[in-house]
């Protein structure tokens, strides 16, 4: 059992949880994830770790209430427990001194990206951060990213805050010498970033969380095609070369269980929304 020590609402339906998890926190590196299960009948869901404090024995994860389990998790309060917290899983992100690193984050995934941004900064990089979301109210971790990055830019799809869309990135890449890009967010965002940087030959890492089951390389549910090769996100990732990922396949695979996911949600909520 893992206790929720703190819960903070970052945006509507997006929460940051701090779990007491001694052993997990001792080994966690940025870019890794845990598989969480709320209770015995619960679904196992992968969540990228957003912070770890081995001193306190805690890890943090951010979760957006989208389906049955994430909504259920969002209802838990400080002091509540979850049954399992398995991790840290996956390979750590490659953190080195590259020079100037551009960290592009979207939606809930800005939280785990911040964990990487912090590490890049500590490794002596000049870190430019981009925090993006669909709309102003869904922007998270602005303050944290502001404090961590040398320079921070904000963008929303509807233009309610910061830049509208991602067109500004084209100019940024032209005007600034960037040595590495790390993108973490919606698949469409990571795809768009990779398409853009490919033309300029800037190494670009994306963090992929496909549908997962065991998280340890056994089941193959999380397979992704990278440079024509089949890899497993859980053991070969989550970090991959964005210029080589077959994003269209990933998008299609992510939607395979849409009817089941919706059904589970509607049944668990008994048809009551929001």
């Amino acid at each position: 059992m893992y206790k929720i020590l703190a819960k903070r609402e970052l945006a509507p339906h997006i929460n940051l949880f701090e779990f007491s998890a001694d052993e997990v926190s001792a080994k966690t590196k940025p870019g890794q994830f845990v598989i969480l299960r709320i209770d015995e009948d619960g679904e196992r869901i992968p969540l990228t770790i957003a912070d770890a404090d081995p001193g306190k024995g805690t890890i943090a994860v951010a979760c957006h209430g989208v389906g049955k389990t994430t909504t259920q998790l969002g209802r838990l309060k400080e002091g509540d427990f979850v049954l399992d917290l398995l991790g840290p899983l996956g390979k750590p992100a490659r953190i080195e001194k590259f020079g100037t690193v551009l960290c592009v984050g979207g939606g809930v995934m800005v939280a785990p990206l911040h964990f990487q941004a912090k590490a890049f900064r500590e490794a002596g990089n000049n870190v430019i951060g981009i925090v993006g979301a669909t709309t102003r109210d869904h922007l998270i971790f602005l303050e944290e990213m502001e404090n961590t990055c040398n320079h921070l830019l904000v963008a929303t799809d509807d233009g309610t805050k910061g830049h509208k869309g991602m067109d500004f990135l084209k100019d940024l890449i032209k005007e600034t010498k960037i040595d590495r890009v790390v993108a973490e967010g919606p698949v469409v965002m990571m795809k768009a970033v990779s398409d853009l940087t490919r033309q300029h030959g800037i190494p670009t890492m994306v963090n992929l969380i496909p549908i997962m089951v065991d998280g340890m390389g056994m089941c193959g549910a999380c397979r992704v095609t990278v440079d024509g090769k089949t890899l497993f996100a859980c053991v070969d990732g989550l970090e991959f070369d964005g210029h080589q990922v077959d994003f269209d396949e990933l998008l299609a695979r992510l939607k395979v269980y849409t009817p089941q996911e919706k059904l589970a949600y509607v049944f668990s909520e008994q048809g009551e929304r929001n």
Binding site: P12, H13, H64, G65, V66, G67, G106, G107, G132, A133, T134, T135, D137, A155, T156, D157, D158, G165, M166, G185, P186, V187, V188, M189, A192, D248, L251, A252, K255, T258, P259, Q260, E261, K262, L263, A264, Y265, V266, F267, Q270, G271, R273, N274
Partner: protein, 720 residues
């Protein structure tokens, strides 16, 4: 529940339709009942509501009672909705504030001998319409300007024909080809039957004409890199292959004429192993160059075509090509021995003459069995022995051969596949571009303003390709000549507040009407949206909605249906109440036809019209069962006939998933069904309903509240 800005003031007009409705349904009782329903401020019956007197009354009452919602309970909306909508508009009421209850085709005509039940059903249908009316919202229809220029992709004979035709009508045309020269496949052909003219000769004339036409802008060695926008306003980025330079153009319509390529049968019959095994296209090049001196030629038909999986289709032109080339060989030198190994020779129309001529010229034909395909063994001198089991002879024959020619089908090329994702138009299972409807809309894509012709759409001969090219030019000219088009208001809309940017809607839309913005916010291209509502049913949070068929509107109707108190629960007199979702196309029309044909079926079913069976959400089905439905049946067009390509397939998938999980809710999965009918199958619709009602009668009442009635749950969900 969101309150509308103004309090609903509903007027209900119930039509007797002479004896058609009035002879069965107690119309006065229904009118009296309507007056008791919430928000109804006026109700009246009329002899013929669609008569000028009836229409005048609607207008008068709208003014007198300040009605802001109008319901007509009469016949099918398929024939009369637009008339009543127009009447409402004349009285200053937005046409989307009108709703219809079909108490003729779906009630009096199909329950002619059950007046009491028919009257109850009519009341239910009116109550459902009233519930929907309370939630109706006024809508605005869009008008789009059409840019009078077209993009024709592919400069083969199809593309050239389409471009010339459009230019001849006065439209600007951009003709794009990936190659450095126009002409496509015709560049590689030899002589064309039945004229014997050289393909290059025909092509030369066509290319000269296209180059001389000032309306046609030519782009060679160019690929279509990016396309956004919608009919009338496509924004196209062209990219030159060698220099990587790009150019942006605006067009109103797009014609795909990208052709196909010949399948290269690597690894089959020694192809690639020996220079003496070639395809028909390669043979034609040898013939054209005059490089052929092979006294013994064996042709093998259906190579890589008509397979069990993958290329299951018939190559369609290969028989013609083989016969034509065999004849050319014979004309070159009558001493050349030509044998054609075939599965079936298919020579419709004019080709039959070619077949006869080939036989008259001493070409041999041997029928082979696909289960025992011919074998090719090579000798040291490059010649080979072809062993074939002759089906008619019932024995193996060995043929000496200097040249083996393989007839392979046309296949989609890599650039075609890429283009399909650039244009967001579908490819069929065979890999070719997929039209909106195989019979009724053969040269259009489901997405408006985009058309397909020639072999991009599947194997075709030149005559067929040119005919299709004219068809696409004609189709594309319609909106361009009209300069404007009006689109309906039933479109998707997204609530940004609750959208979780999962992009399920983006993936679900087959019309490319939803694009994901940089951080995942769906952007709806209203001109592309066809109003099927599949996206709304795929959306996990209800952020995506279809106007006029929103979740709250549909659920209001469902709740209203089961609000009636008159449920009898004793087993002998148990009358199940069944909700039928019917798509507005085939299934609703089939239900109408059952009515028109006076096919009688049990009065237990209430039809709820939705744009597509794909709009039916698991939420709606669950609500129906929770509200007291004994059974839910979803009806859609036949598989392959969906007016939104595959909405019915998605509905079926959803039903399959639900059936597995209904037990957990204490509901017997047999209570949910899905059926597919064509609009001409009134009989089948009635039979489907009759069977379903019988099944529900067997199952007994739905007791789907597991916590309350544990015992009944076992009985209801037991493996009956």
């Amino acid at each position: 529940m969101e309150a509308n800005k103004e309090e609903p003031r509903i007027g209900v007009f119930i039509c007797r339709c002479g004896f058609n409705i009035g002879g069965v349904v107690d119309v006065s009782a229904v009118a009296e009942y309507a007056k008791t329903l919430p928000d109804v401020v006026f109700a009246e019956e009329g002899l013929y509501t669609c008569s000028s007197a009836g229409l005048d009354s609607i207008k008068k009452q709208i003014e007198k009672f300040k009605l802001n919602r109008v319901i007509v309970a009469s016949c099918t909306p398929a024939t009369h909705e637009s008339l009543f909508q127009k009447t409402c508009e004349e009285a200053g009421l937005n046409k989307y504030l009108f709703e219809m209850a079909n108490i003729r085709e779906h009630c009096s005509w199909v329950h002619m001998h059950l007046p009491a039940e028919a009257t109850e059903k009519a009341k239910d249908l009116v109550r459902m319409a009233v519930a929907k009316a309370s939630y109706l919202e006024p809508q605005k229809e869009m008008e789009l300007d059409i840019c009078p220029s077209a993009l024709v992709i592919g400069g083969g004979i199809s593309g050239i024909t389409a471009a010339m035709s459009l230019a001849g009508q006065g439209f600007e045309v951009h003709l794009v080809d990936k190659e450095a020269e126009f002409g496509g496949m015709l560049n590689h052909l030899y002589r064309l039957q039945p004229t014997e003219r050289e393909a290059s000769e025909i092509l030369r004339e066509a290319i000269i004409a296209v180059k001389a036409n000032s309306k046609i802008h030519l782009h060679v060695s160019t690929l279509v890199h990016e396309v956004s926008g919608f009919i009338g306003d496509f924004d196209v980025t062209l990219q030159t292959k060698n220099s990587n330079q790009s150019e942006r153009i605006k067009v109103g319509t797009i014609i795909v004429a990208t052709g196909a390529e010949e399948f290269k049968p690597t690894g089959m019959y020694g192809y690639n192993e020996s220079p003496n095994v070639v395809t028909q296209l390669e043979l034609e090049q040898l013939l054209r160059k005059g490089e052929l001196k092979k006294p013994k030629v064996v042709m093998v038909q259906c190579v890589g075509a008509r397979e069990k999986t993958g290329r299951t289709y018939c190559g369609r032109i290969c028989c013609h090509v083989a016969l034509s080339n065999a004849l050319q060989l014979k004309k070159l030198d009558p001493n050349i021995d030509v044998t054609i190994l075939f599965r079936d020779i298919q020579t419709p129309g004019e080709d039959e003459r070619l077949y006869k001529e080939t036989m008259a010229n001493c070409v041999n034909f041997i029928r082979y069995d696909p289960k025992r395909p011919p074998k090719v063994a090579f000798k040291a001198d490059g010649s080979s022995t072809v062993t074939v089991y002759d089906v008619y002879l019932g024995a193996e024959i060995e043929l000496e051969s200097d040249l083996v020619v393989l007839s392979t089908p046309l296949v989609q090329h890599e650039d075609g596949r890429k283009l399909s994702s650039v244009l967001k138009v579908p490819l069929g299972a065979d890999g070719f571009f997929f039209e909106a409807h195989p019979k009724l809309r053969p040269v259009e894509f489901a997405s408006e303003g985009m058309y397909v012709c020639g072999t991009a759409h599947g194997p075709k001969n030149i005559f067929e390709s040119i005919t299709q090219a004219y068809a696409t030019a004609s189709k594309a000219s319609i909106p361009m000549a009209a300069k404007k088009i009006k689109t309906g208001a039933v479109k998707a809309s997204v609530n940004q507040e609750i959208c979780v940017n999962c992009d399920a809607c983006v993936v679900s839309c087959v019309f490319g009407a939803i694009e994901a913005s940089a951080f995942g916010l769906p952007r709806i291209l209203e001109a592309n949206c066809k109003g099927c509502g599949v996206c709304a049913s795929e959306c996990p949070t209800g952020a995506m909605q279809l106007r006029h068929y929103k979740d709250d509107q549909i659920i209001a109707v469902i709740k209203a249906l089961f609000r009636s108190e008159k449920r009898t629960e004793t087993n002998e007199s148990f009358k199940p109440v069944i909700l039928c979702f019917a798509c507005q196309w085939c299934s609703y029309a089939a239900a109408d036809l059952a009515g028109v044909s006076r096919i009688q079926y049990p009065p237990n079913v209430r039809v709820l019209r939705v744009p597509c069976s794909g709009r039916v959400d698991v939420l709606h089905v669950l609500k129906a069962f929770q509200s007291g439905a004994d059974g839910v049946i979803i009806t859609g067009c036949l598989i392959g006939d969906c007016h939104y390509i595959d909405g019915n397939v998605k509905a079926k998938e959803r039903v399959d998933v639900m059936k597995k999980s209904l037990r957990s809710q204490g509901i017997n999965p047999k209570r949910l069904e899905i059926g597919f009918v064509s609009s001409s199958e009134g009989q089948k619709f009635a039979a489907m309903i009759t069977d379903f009602v019988k099944e529900m009668e067997k199952l007994g009442p739905n007791s789907s509240t597991p916590k309350r009635e544990g015992e009944k749950l076992v009985q209801d969900t037991g493996k009956a």
